[in-house]
Structures are given as C-alpha cells and as structure tokens.
C-alpha cells in the first residue's frame, strides 16, 4: 500500500515539477513522462501484490476536512482497475513523451504533463478511495484534469465547445453521485465506505442514481454525448487514457456501489442489459457514420462500454435469480472486457494519433495507403482493429465469449424464471452482441481499409511518414498485450474471482466461488485454440515462403480495365463503404448533407459532404438546453430596468408574506 502512496506522490511531484519548468519544455516533458511511468510502475506493483497474495491493503492517513478521511484501500476489485490504469498511463506517457513536444506549442507542454499526471493520480485515487468525500474530490479532480487536457488546443472554437460539453456533462453526472453517497452515508454520519449502509427499500433508487451518475462518466447512451466531442479534441495519448481507462472508473463506481447495495432487484439487471445493448448497437452505428478517425474510435468506446454493461447486467441477473455461473461469467466477462478495451482502445487511439502526426489529418476519406508508409502503426492498428471486433485469437474475443457463455448458461438454467422473459434476454443479449460484433468488424474494415490500404487519397496521406521510436514502441507493447491476454486465458478467472465475490452478496459467496472454477474450462479451450491458430498461421506462412523461395514474384499496377487515367479518388471511400449498412439503419441517423451538384452542360465545380451529428445531442439535449435558455430569456422582463417595478417586488413580497404568514 505504501508503494501505492509513493506512486501517487511521484505523480504529483512530477506533475508539479514539470509545471514549474517553464524554461525548458523538453526537460519538463521528460520529467512528466518519467514521473508518470515510475508512478504507474509503483501502483502496478502494489496492485499485483494484492492480486497475487489475495490480501487487501488499507491505509488511513490524517486529514482534517469535514466528513472526509484519507482512507485508501486496495482490494481485488480496486486492483483489477488499478492494473489497466497503471499500464495504460505508463504506455501513454511514453508515447506522449515523444508525441506532445512534436505536435503542440511549447507553452502547453508543462501544464499538459501536470494535468496528465494529475489525471493519472486521481484515477488511481478514485479506485482506491475508501471515503465518499475523498472519492468525490478525486472524481471531480479527474474530470477537471481531463477537462484541461481536452483544452490543450484551446484556441480552436470546436475544442472549447467540446470541453464545455464535457465539463457540463461531468458536473451533471456528479450531482447524482453527491446524492448517492450522501444517501449511503446518511445513517452513519460520516462517509467512510466501511460504514455505508443501504437503507431498506432504497436499493432501487440508489442503483438508478449510480447508473446515471457513473453512466455519464462511462458513456452510457443517452448520456454519452460528451464522449464523441471530448475524445477527438484531446491529444491522442490523452484520448487513449480517457477512453481506455478513465471512462472505466464509471464501471468501477457502479461495481463498488453494488457491493453496498446487497440484494438488488431483478429489474436492475434488465436495466443494465437494455442500456448495454442500446449503447452497444447505437454506439457502433454512430461510429460507422463517422469520417473522423478519433471520433469513430470515441463512438466505439460507447459500444464497448455497452458490452461491459451487458456483462454487468447479465451478472446482476445471475445474482438476482441465484444462478452462480451466470453471475460469474457475466461479471468476469465485464471485468475482463474492461482490461481488454483499455488495451485495444488505447492502442487504436495511439494509432490514430500516429496517423494524425504522420499525415496531419484524421479524416478517413483523405487518408489511404498508409500501411506502406507507416508499417508499424498500420500493423498494430490492425491488431487493435481485430481485437475490438472481437476476433480470435485476440483479447476482445475472450471477454465477449464469457458474456455469451453467461447468457447461455442462464438460459439453460431457465427452470427458475419466466420462460418468455428469459428467451427475450437470450435474443437481446446474444443477438445484440452478435450485431455489435458484426457491425464493429464492418466499421473497422472501413477504418483500417480506407486509412491504411489502397492508394493515398490526398497529399497529406501521400506525405505520411512513420512516427518516432517511442511512439512505435508503445503501440507495439499494447498490441502484444492484446495477444497476451487471449493466450493466457485460464488465469483470468483467478484474477477476477475475488472481485466477483466482492460484488456478490455474502450469502452467495460459496456458490460463486464454485462457479469461478467451472468458468476456466471454456477459457482453456480458447487459449489452446489460439495458440494452435497462431502456430498454424506461422506454419502456413512458412509453407508459402518455401513455395515462393527462389521464384520470381511480380509487382505491377492493378489492372485498370483499360481506363487511362485512374486516380486514387476512384477508390472506395469510407462513406460509400458504410453507406449500405447505414441505409439499413437510417432511422437512427439524421445525416447533414451539404452538396453542390454538377449542373449544366459543362459543370465546373461540384461538392458533396456529409456529417452525421449525434442524434441524442441534436434531438434530446440541445432541445432541452435551448428550451431552458428560451424560458430564461422570456423571463428577462423581470429585470427590465424600472426602479418602480423593483420597489413593487419588495412591497408585494412583504404584503404577501404578511397576509400568508400571519393568517
């Protein structure tokens, strides 16, 4: 535990030092980067200790603040969130150490590292805080640090707007959390987690508050609207951290709250399943409609959070209906997906950053052919794309498989519940997950295909070049990790077991423990098959090489059917690739199309552009906000400058009070 605290101190110290070193941005960057990596390693060490020994660590330090105490603790639930946070922060810091100085003005370097380290420290604190006030302070600190990171490029109007949306969303979400924690701590007087109690009958409302409050951070639909704005605006290594791990603190919060709630009603599981399926499907659909690589990835975060939430929902249903294997598989799948998504989404964001760094644009329709110019970026991006699409032998497949298995186990155990409902669940989850996976694969075919394959579509793409060694190394590490998770499948139930037990009510621990043992088998199969698959790919590649050795291999232009002047613009574009699928789901989209069609006999110029804004932002939040603003502006006459009116208010107030109160 003291290792962990030391890590936090390193984060803070390094952040402050790099903030103060205004003279030398390079040195500031170095300090910030080294501090982040060191801090992460220290935190990782203490989390690993907890995971391996299975012994939770606690420490409480003196702190004088009303209702608060500096109580920290790492149990297995915390530890499995500390691990991805520390890993991703370290990798992103290494990446950022090279990326940031070469992409941004030197004046932002110091502050950027300060906030990066602050973000890392507060994220770690959030998952180890054992006091409500401390949790909320760190929670808001995390939001603010990332808010400032989003604002790195603050002179662009779009960035400002994104940051504002982000800040507003975080604040609204936190409002729910304030009430949530106060309600939990109402009976004990202070806000220490260990004395949190759920008053009888209030589990439902507490659960809903947690879903809205934490869901805003995590990016549940429809409160995800900040996500596609903020992530693209931030520097890429920050997007990687935000999307990869910061939003997961919302999942952590939800899980942590579940440990206080005890028995939760069955509808809460259904709620999560529905929210998850909606987030997953809509997230991936919106992603399909994007041309901006980072925005596309941001929507995929919504999708993956949806998958995690489906897992949680399945787990909750398992708990509510006392089907231990279902609970275990659901929760373990969700928790493993937290780690997996952290790995591959960070990898993809780093890749997107590399693309932007190498070409200067993230518009997929302007890219193309980058795999040749940026082989490492391209290959690692491909690994990430396969992983996020849930393809074996990569990690995304493992966690999704667990969730599938969870549902199927539950359905097999359908004797205890209404048949219709259970069948519906099966359709919802299995169908939903399958649809999500398929669409994700389509989406990444589009993203990878259009950006990295084919011919460059613009001069920017033509000029593209591979990024520096540190950036490449961090992407390679993450890509390797994606494989590693899948290839070490059977250890994960052990890692996640005690965390699952923590979430389950006490009366239920034994059965859960037993179910954890059983869940190893499918993972063993996956693990072995993955190794076999890799071996076979290797084998076949060697066979191919043997066959081709010593023979002439021709590389010629693609046959153009005799057309004399092909240009790269004749390639499939990202929009046209996605168009058939989007047409199928057009009821969810309101694309904004600006077109200037060719007219006349000799048309000179024609243009076409489309943009797909977020439906929920455009048709849910913006109307509400503008309605509020409209109402407020209608009420401006109250203060319309006449003194007489003002005195009249006072007179009427006192008269009304007299007549009302002295009756």
């Amino acid at each position: 535990m003291w290792l962990f605290v030391a890590g936090l101190i390193v984060f803070f110290g390094g952040g402050v030092v790099s903030l103060l070193m205004r003279m030398s941005p390079r040195l500031a960057s170095m300090v910030g980067c080294v501090a982040a990596v060191t801090g992460s390693l220290l935190a990782l060490g203490s989390a690993a200790h907890v995971l391996f020994t299975g012994q939770a660590a606690h420490v409480t330090m003196a702190w004088q603040i009303p209702f608060g105490s500096l109580a920290l603790g790492i149990d297995s639930l915390s530890a499995i969130f500390v691990v991805p946070i520390a890993v991703i922060v370290a990798v992103a810091a290494i990446y950022g150490g090279q990326y940031l100085p070469s992409s941004y003005r030197s004046s932002v370097i110091g502050p950027s590292w300060f906030f990066f380290n602050l973000l890392a420290a507060t994220m770690l604190l959030v998952v180890v805080a054992r006091n409500g006030l401390l949790f909320l302070l760190c929670w808001e600190g995390m939001s603010l640090a990332s808010f400032f990171l989003v604002l790195t490029d603050h002179e662009r109007e779009r960035t400002q707007r994104a940051a504002w949306i982000y800040l507003a969303a975080m604040h609204l979400g936190t409002a729910c959390l304030l009430v949530l924690f106060l309600l939990l701590g109402r009976s004990s007087g202070d806000l220490d987690f260990e004395r949190f109690t759920c008053e009888p009958g209030s589990a439902g409302i507490l659960f809903l508050l947690a879903v809205v409050g934490f869901g805003t951070k995590a990016g549940f639909i429809p409160v995800h609207v900040w996500l596609p704005e903020a992530h693209p605006a931030a520097p890429s290594h920050v997007s990687a951290v935000m999307s990869g791990v910061m939003i997961k603190t919302g999942i952590y919060g939800l899980l942590r709250i579940l440990t206080f709630l005890g028995d939760v009603p069955s509808w809460s599981g259904w709620t999560l399943v529905v929210v998850g399926v909606l987030s997953g499907i809509l997230g991936v659909l919106f992603a399909l409609a994007q041309h901006d690589l980072k925005k596309l990835l941001a929507y995929h975060s919504v999708e993956n959070i949806g998958i995690i939430v489906i897992g949680l929902g399945v787990g909750l249903l398992g708990l509510a209906h006392r089907i231990p294997p279902m609970a275990v598989l659901g929760f373990a799948g969700a928790m493993l997906h937290v780690l997996n998504h952290a790995l591959f989404k960070s990898l993809l964001f780093l890749g997107a950053g590399a693309v932007q760094h190498g070409t200067g644009t993230r518009d997929i329709d302007r890219l193309g052919g980058l795999l040749k110019k940026m082989p490492v970026t391209g290959t690692t991006f491909l690994v990430g794309a396969c992983a996020i699409s849930g393809l074996p032998p990569l990690n995304g497949f493992v966690s999704e498989l667990l969730i599938y298995l969870g549902v199927l186990t539950g359905v097999a155990d359908s004797s205890r519940v209404a048949e219709v409902g259970w069948a519906l669940l099966c359709v919802l989850v299995v169908g939903g997950l399958a649809l999500i996976g398929g669409l994700a694969a389509a989406c990444f075919t589009k993203a990878f295909g259009c950006a990295f394959l084919g011919e460059p579509r613009s001069e920017d793409a033509e000029r593209g070049h591979e990024v520096g060694a540190a950036m490449r190394a961090s992407m390679v590490v993450l890509a390797g990790a994606c494989f590693l998770v899948a290839l070490t499948g059977p250890i994960w139930p052990y890692v996640y077991g005690s965390a699952v037990v923590a979430v389950a009510p006490a009366s239920f621990h034994g059965e859960v423990q037993a179910a954890i043992e059983q869940s190893r088998f499918p993972l063993m199969v996956v693990c072995v098959s993955s190794w076999a698959f890799l071996a076979m790919v290797g084998l076949l590649a060697m066979v191919r090489r043997a066959l081709l050795s010593g023979r002439q291999v021709d590389r010629v232009p693609t046959w153009d059917c005799g057309y004399a002047a092909p240009t790269p613009r004749m390639q499939y574009t990202a929009s046209s690739f996605a168009s058939p699928i989007l047409l199928l789901f057009r009821m969810f989209f309101r694309p904004r199309i600006g077109q200037h069609l060719p007219t006349g006999l000799f048309p000179k110029q024609a243009s076409f552009e489309s943009e797909t804004p977020d439906v929920f932002r455009e048709y849910l939040f913006e109307p509400v906000f503008s309605a509020v603003a409209w109402t407020a502006l209608r009420l401006r006459w109250l203060q319309h400058g006449r003194l007489q009116l003002y005195v009249l208010y006072i007179a009427l107030t006192i008269l009304v009070l007299f007549i009302w109160k002295l009756g």
């Binding site: 290959t379 990295f452 098959s529 076999a532 076979m536 790919v537 076949l540 191919r544 010629v556 232009p557």
Partner: protein
C-alpha cells in the same frame, strides 16, 4: 487430447477437401445432362496454380498476402475443434 484417429481424420479432411468441388460440379453436371470434370481436376488445378508466377498489385500490402493464410488457418482450426469435440 489429440488422438490418432483425430489426426487421421484431420489429415483425411485436408486431403479430400478439394474433392468436394469435384463432387459438387459433377452432381450439377449430372443434373444438367453433362459429363462433368475429371475426378482429380481440382488437384491438377492446384498443381498448376502452385507453379505459376505470382503477381501482386502494387497497391496491395501484406494484408492481401495474409488473407488466404489466415483464412486457411481459421478453417483448419475449426476443423480441429470440431473433430475434437
């Protein structure tokens, strides 16, 4: 565990797979009143194809090359899992 019969099954499946094409084509031909291809035609085709000079478009990348390999590996794997189960 990998058994001898399993290995034999896998090997057989690999060897006989191209025959599937012949069977399909000959069945079709029979219904159309033709004679159809020789029994070992796919093997001859494969033999011939393996000896041709490979030509790749300049546009393509390693992804293009790895497509068949991964596809083949995945099919094999499916085969193995099926046999095993």
């Amino acid at each position: 565990m990998v058994t001898t019969s399993g290995l034999i099954q896998i090997a057989l499946a690999l060897v006989l797979a191209p025959m599937m094409l012949t069977i399909i084509n000959r069945t079709k031909a029979a219904f159309a009143g033709r004679r159809g291809q020789p029994l070992l035609q796919p093997y001859w085709d494969l033999w011939k194809l393996f000896h041709k000079t490979p030509v790749y478009s300049q546009t393509t990348t390693a992804v293009f090359v790895s497509g068949p390999i991964v596809g083949c590996a995945a099919t094999w794997l499916a085969l193995m899992v099926t046999v095993h189960a």
